[in-house]
Assembly symmetry: C2
Homo-oligomer: 411 residues x 2
């Protein structure tokens, strides 16, 4: 699998994890591809758990994505099974069969319909999934189910990740305490090999499925859909939210019910924390980059411009070189295809305006900019001077480490 990869300099320790009522997890070594580590994660959800999901927009998705989209047509989930090492993508009819076999085995274990079983696979693509190894490991996985196994689950789904990723929030709905806790994996935004982005969040809150889906879709837009490592989009990305309802809070009436305000804020915050952890484990990343665009024609336009900047190899390599190269930012704005007027454009790095309304700011103070560029958290702000549209996205720099990881991955 190539040389071992050092832990990202931007890694963060796991937070203090707890349990979520109605959720039990386990992690076992099924030997799908890796040896000497866990590679299979099983989660069991209490009967009545509802589920919301957001899946990759890649037009060539893997078999597990097709499976989950179909499973998503009913509101319930009883189990989640994720393997690392093989993505079960571009595997034709055999890939579908592998999903059916796994879901059948899990549904028999939990005495539930197969469509209440959610599946994911992450790893190499184009190789048939050895589903029998997974099915053979299921009894051990079932025996190991425990409320406290969140960290083990986070580790079992890692591929090129250099650190496990999890987040937790405790809030209330109408005075009833509820918890949100989630795990994620991914280190290229979302590349097809080992770098697929998977995120699973559970809560004990009691929220109808349609409301849960609204909250998740809205939260995803400002978190997982606002990060990019290399502009590549995996065939297997998914973000799934399970609500067991065991907190037994009072019923909520809709996504904008004031009783959900605190929960929604915590969900959005948790999703953003998980998404940023993926960026911070970006392949070869040495710096996290936040791009703010204001004054654009619309929010959609601002988002496209922000992604054009965040995906520009020239911007990303400049930041790796600690160079406040605002000229490349201007280029990236210009190439986005969105409305822009060179003579109204302003660019700041680390809060210092370097260019204002079409020209460099004469004699701007370089010292804070130089100091900012040497740090790990880089902030780029662009004001278009056109309207009220704004957006914020996150990415990481582009370094030799990215080439190392991706130029020799399968060797």
């Amino acid at each position: 699998m190539g040389k071992p990869i050092a832990v990202s300099p931007l890694s963060r320790p796991l937070p203090d994890l707890s349990t979520v009522a109605g959720v039990r997890l386990s992690a076992v070594a099924a030997g799908v591809r890796y040896q000497g580590r866990t590679d299979l994660m099983l989660a069991e959800f209490a009967p009545g758990t509802v589920v919301a999901g957001v899946y990759t927009r890649n037009a060539c998705p893997g078999a597990p994505i097709l499976w989950c989209r179909q499973a998503q047509t009913t509101p319930y989930a009883r189990a989640l099974l994720v393997n690392a090492g093989n993505a079960n993508v571009f595997t034709g009819r055999a890939g579908i069969q592998a999903c059916e076999d796994c879901a059948d085995a899990v549904s028999a274990m939990f005495d539930c319909p197969p469509q209440d079983v959610f599946l994911a696979s992450t790893g190499v693509i184009g190789e048939k999934l050895p589903q029998q190894r997974i099915i053979d490991a299921l009894p051990a996985a079932q025996a190991g189910l425990d409320e406290n196994n969140w960290e083990q689950a986070a580790r079992a789904i890692m591929t090129t990740d250099t650190f496990p990723k999890a987040a937790r929030r405790d809030v209330t709905i109408n005075g009833t305490p509820v918890r949100l806790q989630g795990i994620a994996k991914g280190s290229g935004m979302v590349a097809p090999d080992m770098a697929t982005m998977l995120a699973y969040v559970a809560t004990d809150a009691k929220i109808p499925q349609n409301i849960l889906q609204s909250l998740l879709s809205a939260g995803c837009a400002k978190s997982f859909n606002a990060i990019t490592v290399d502009s590549d989009t995996s065939t297997s990305d998914m973000l799934v939210l399970f609500a067991t309802g065991l907190a037994d809070n009072e019923p909520v009436t809709g996504p904008h019910d004031p009783a959900l305000a605190e929960f929604t804020e915590a969900l959005n915050d948790l999703l953003l924390e998980l998404a940023i952890l993926v960026v911070r484990d970006g392949e070869g990343a040495t710096k996290q980059i936040r791009v703010d665009v204001t004054g654009a024609d619309s929010d959609v336009s601002a988002h496209r411009i922000a992604l054009s900047i965040a995906n520009s190899p020239l911007v990303k390599t400049a930041i790796a070189g600690e160079d406040a190269n605002w000229g490349r930012v201007v280029m990236a704005v210009g190439k986005s295809g969105e409305p822009a007027d060179r003579d109204r454009l302003s660019v700041a790095m680390g809060g210092t305006w370097i260019a204002r309304e079409g020209g460099v700011v004469e004699n701007y103070d370089e010292a804070p900019v130089v100091a900012h560029m040497k740090g790990q958290d880089i902030e780029i702000t662009v004001d278009l001077g056109l309207g009220d549209g704004q957006a914020r996205v996150w990415t990481c720099d582009l370094t030799h480490g990215y080439i190392d990881i991706n130029g020799s991955y399968r060797s």
Copy 2:
């Protein structure tokens, strides 16, 4: 300017260059930014020379682009002045003034209207162009004008280029011999600092301006608009074609006049040769990559899919690692947003089909693929299995060299 950059392993020697009747060139050291090398190129065209141009689509173009677009509103050109080291981009009113000053000085020298003077600047952006240094160097440039200075001109416009680029074709129009000869610079497709793509082609053919423009626009679509190094688009890109008319061939009636068939083919061929030279000098490039897409919904769709593949960092790093990672090609097709059906998709590398109609070709012969990936010229073919749309684009691999060049460029 950072460490010296080794000559690209994909470099090609200059072809046997000749003269073009009605064109004289010179190269001098104006000291715009570089020391100890020529950095200013002047070309003089015979009175009556007509000109066609294609300019960057970047929404934040440099002042010289604005100047040339305006100059393009009349059919004639008498001179071309190009400096390296400073791009005169994002320089506000001062940038426009610099263009006016330079054009006025050249127009006085040649006793022509300022709008018959074409200008280009390539180099760092956001710094004011020291136009007086250029104007001071003009007498020496004028004194040095000579029909034989094509190589000198090609060298004077280089920035991060590691080798000079030129091409030549000799053909006939209705039996009259005519010549096409051109030079280019560029080594990132077309990045905002030193890597802007500039190309200038001259011919002695007598072709009306509107026909010349049709031929150039069509030829550009299949050459300079079909290459990419890093998906970034310069604020200064331009391709300009000058026709002196001194060959005095019989009049032509339109772009599809059969008398122009040979000329058009030679022009297209020459433009492609120059464009591929830019790819072969791609920053850090060690391999040239040709991407063919067939069976797409339309030619436009095929072109977008081919660019999605050619711009994918994961595809480009895999090829740098000599890995026939067709899974990443599938991912890049899927993320393009264009119609695709995973179960009809086929992928070949070096002419060997690795995946067919949605699955890996069992027991395909790996030996020729492995040998192909070790070469310098990589061919990827994707068949969508949907329709008749096809496209071909060129790019290069993504290596540590790209990071070296772009991560420390201004330091």
